[in-house]
């Protein structure tokens, strides 16, 4: 087994043993499960009220949930990915590269016949496998809960859309995992290694979209992208900041994949943007100088 796969395997093992990582993974899966339960309770409550009103002859309108697309119930997951998922990925990424610096194991690693590139890309792959597993578990939870709520198993097309959403989520999380890794390599203090990527995340998730949309901050907590404002300087700002606002790109992709007709756009554009950021991040990791893994933390 070469250094790449050894590092990937070691990363999976280390993540599963780290308390904070375990906690974040449980919180993420828990939120997705809670989202499914909330959707189920909402449907049941609204339908019960509707049936009461219908029986009393107070309405002739159709049940508002009759024409709802089945994937409607998974839409909130997008915001959990942007809020909790990204923070989870940052923590995993920073922990991965801080581990050797903090525990003092870097001297043992660097005196082995391996390249730093193989080591770091192996760690990234290990993280990728863990994140993929978490997203698959949450996709399975969504699939089952939607099937229970609608009383019909999801078709192949809808299942593929749900898996596509998981894939787009994975791309976004991997970008933030890389940001965390790079911060873990370059930060002088452990606290900075976690705080710096959180600042980058809040800039991407909240500041950049506001520059191009003039959206209210609360609107950015919606699982759908904020509408860009046209005219004046906003058009230019939107064109400038839009490509970097990858959380908004992700929301557009998620909305299209999860059958939200109110959102215009293509899922492919967002996926391509995320893939470009991921590739750029992978290239950045391969350029990290060897000494960075050994640099001492000032704490």
């Amino acid at each position: 087994m070469n250094a790449f796969w050894t590092s990937a395997r070691h990363e999976v093992l280390s993540i599963t043993r780290a308390r904070i990582a375990q906690l974040l993974l449980v919180v993420f899966v828990g939120m997705v499960s809670a989202s499914a339960v909330i959707g189920w309770i909402t449907t049941r409550t609204v339908t019960a009220v509707y049936e009461g009103i219908l029986a009393a002859g107070l309405t002739t309108a159709a049940n508002p949930f009759t024409d709802v697309a089945p994937l409607y119930y998974a839409r909130n997951s997008a915001i959990y990915v942007v809020l909790i998922g990204c923070l989870m990925a940052i923590v995993l990424g920073a922990q991965a590269t801080l581990r050797d610096r903090k525990q003092g194991t870097s001297a043992l690693v660097l005196t082995r016949p391996l390249t730093l590139r193989a080591r770091l890309l192996g760690q990234l792959t290990g993280m990728g496998l863990v994140l993929a597993a978490v997203l698959l578990v949450s996709t399975l939870i969504s699939w089952v809960s939607i099937a229970v709520i609608t009383a019909v198993p999801l078709s192949g097309n809808l299942t593929a859309r749900l898996l596509g959403f998981a894939g787009a989520s994975w791309l976004l999380l991997m970008v933030f995992a890389i940001i965390g890794m790079i911060s873990g390599l370059f930060a002088r203090r452990e606290s900075t290694a976690f705080l710096a990527p959180f600042v980058v995340w809040s800039g991407i998730a909240f500041v950049l979209p506001q520059l191009g949309t003039a959206a209210r901050p609360v609107a950015l907590l919606n699982p759908v992208p904020a509408n860009p404002v046209t005219g004046d300087s906003f058009t230019a700002l939107s064109a400038l900041t839009g490509p970097f606002a990858i959380t908004e790109q992700f929301k557009t992709t998620a909305s299209v994949l999860l059958q939200n007709d109110l959102v215009a756009g293509s899922a492919v554009t967002g996926v391509l943007a995320l893939a470009i950021f991921l590739i750029a991040g992978v290239i950045a990791i391969t350029l990290v100088p060897r000494r960075k893994i050994r640099s001492a933390l000032h704490e």
Binding site: M1, A3, L13, Q103, G104, T105, L108, T111, L114, T115
Partner: protein, 245 residues
């Protein structure tokens, strides 16, 4: 005559304007236990860091197992085992999980059988599934030796190996180093400031003072060259004083 396992040629390392090691030239034969002596800050760890490829020399070169540390660092890494001062491991992994990781990084495809052999050799069985975070300093040092010899290196570098150990731990480690040399044929390069350790363990010594080598000979040769001195300790202070600019 035995082949040279380590050859240092005018090895120099500067930190800014401050010289840590200056024009260090030494040849260490295969199968020796070489002790590099010196006070704190003499340049011992810097020398080991260069020889283990953790640090690049400012000038000069060294060959370890016939490979250059500057031109062929990757090959050098395949030939060496290294035990740093205050060795650390992944505390939330077990002993075997730690050793598997380092064994695989060293290119051992299926390390479990080799791990069992090494732990038996070190008389350190029964702790395989225990997390390393629960180990004492002495136990960690033995894990350190285990990871360093797992891939059957030709040269073993030990940086202050007895640092922080109790007398029993020091004795066990000393015996282990001698066994590694005699039974496995390893060349050992050891940094220390404990003269008693050098006298009991090493076959040859070098004395480093302010980054410069002021003495290099066999232990027996050193003692014979200074018949008026009572111990290696007295010889060390005399040589060090003579070498101070």
């Amino acid at each position: 005559m035995r082949d040279s396992a380590i050859i240092l040629t005018r090895l120099t390392r500067m930190f800014g304007d401050i010289p840590a090691v200056t024009n260090l030239s030494v040849e260490i034969a295969a199968g020796e236990i070489f002790g590099l002596l010196g006070h704190n800050g003499a340049g011992k760890t810097t020398t080991v860091n260069m020889l283990t490829t953790l640090l690049s020399p400012t000038s000069g070169d060294a060959q370890v197992g016939g490979k250059s540390i500057t031109a062929d660092a990757a090959a050098v890494r395949g030939l060496i085992g290294y035990l740093p001062e205050n060795v650390q491991f992944y505390d939330n992994l077990t002993l075997v999980e730690n050793l598997r990781f380092f064994g695989r990084l060293s290119g051992i495809r299926r390390p479990d059988a080799r791990i069992a052999d090494v732990l038996r050799f070190l008389d350190f069985t029964g702790h395989e599934d225990q997390r390393v975070g629960t180990f004492s300093k002495g136990m960690r040092q033995r894990v350190g030796i285990a990871q360093a010899i797992l891939h059957s290196p030709a040269v073993l570098f030990l940086d202050e190996p007895t640092s922080g150990l109790d007398p029993e731990g020091v004795r066990t480690l000393r015996e282990t180093i001698v066994r590694l040399n005699r039974e496995l044929g390893l060349t050992v390069f050891m940094n220390t400031h404990l003269l008693s350790e050098v006298a009991r363990t090493c076959t040859s010594i070098g004395i480093l003072n302010q980054g410069r080598l002021v003495h290099h000979d066999t232990v027996a040769g050193t003692l014979a060259a200074y018949p008026e001195e009572q111990s290696l300790e007295e010889i060390f202070f005399q040589l060090e004083q003579a070498g101070t600019p």
